[in-house]
Amino acid sequence: MNITLFDTIFYLLAFLTLGSAAIMVFSKNVIYSAVGLLFTFFGVAGIYVLLAADFVAVVQVLVYVGGILILLLFGVMLSNKITNIEITTETLHFLPASLVVIGIFVVLYRVFITTDWNPVGSYNFDPTTHEIGTLLMTDYLIPFEIASILLLGALIGAAYIARKD
């Protein structure tokens, strides 16, 4: 058995990610789903670190855990009777959905395995922050600006839609 540390960590993270994702998907309790999602995000961030994307990993934690997940939790709690501990969700056409999803997975698996991606090695683990900053201000300036406008619009729009009137 020749497992390197890298592989171990990958499998640990994969287990964390997929296990908590499964909790998220199959749990009846919405809050448990949210907690499962939390650990999924965390595991995905770990995967990013393994893929030499440290900045993206931290942004993942910052935005998903610090932002989106909290929003989701607020969404759950504001859309239920506050004293009701049992915030559950039922499922819809379970069987056909499982069949279709498994079918899609099989196809994806086949595609991934049979395609020759022609990998060209991997770059070293230099900090990417500086380079990402440079790219944001040069090649990706227009997307960056558009994204900021999008965020502003989403902020105003969300506040407007959610307002009681």
Binding site: M24, L37, L51, V56, S79, T89, I132, I161
Partner: protein, 103 residues
């Protein structure tokens, strides 16, 4: 157990994608559906970054992932606002009850 390579990440992301898809299709609760969407986005991001590392060998994939994260944040905010609005109108966020378009 093979040494971890590109395919491992791809299969991981495929599983994550399918779980997210399953959640989107089957869950009645709108918030859970949103969670499924986030799973799908994360799966896509893993693919982007894995390809950036193994195939593309530069940072473009990471940049795209960053923009996906930003867009997801915007989408989540708007989607939750819509969910709250639905809740105010229907007193429920179960998607199968929001079926006024049914024929």
């Amino acid at each position: 157990m093979l040494a971890v390579g590109l395919n491992h990440y791809l299969i991981l992301s495929a599983i994550l994608f399918c779980l997210g898809l399953f959640s989107v299709v089957t869950k009645k609760n709108a918030v859970t559906v949103l969670m499924g969407v986030e799973l799908i986005l994360n799966a896509a991001n893993i693919n982007f970054i894995a390809f950036a590392k193994y195939v593309d060998n530069d940072l473009d994939g990471q940049m795209i992932a960053l923009f996906v994260i930003v867009t997801a944040a915007a989408a989540a905010a708007v989607a939750l606002a819509i969910v709250l609005n639905i809740y105010q109108r229907l007193k429920s966020i179960n998607l199968d009850e929001a079926d006024s378009l049914a024929g």
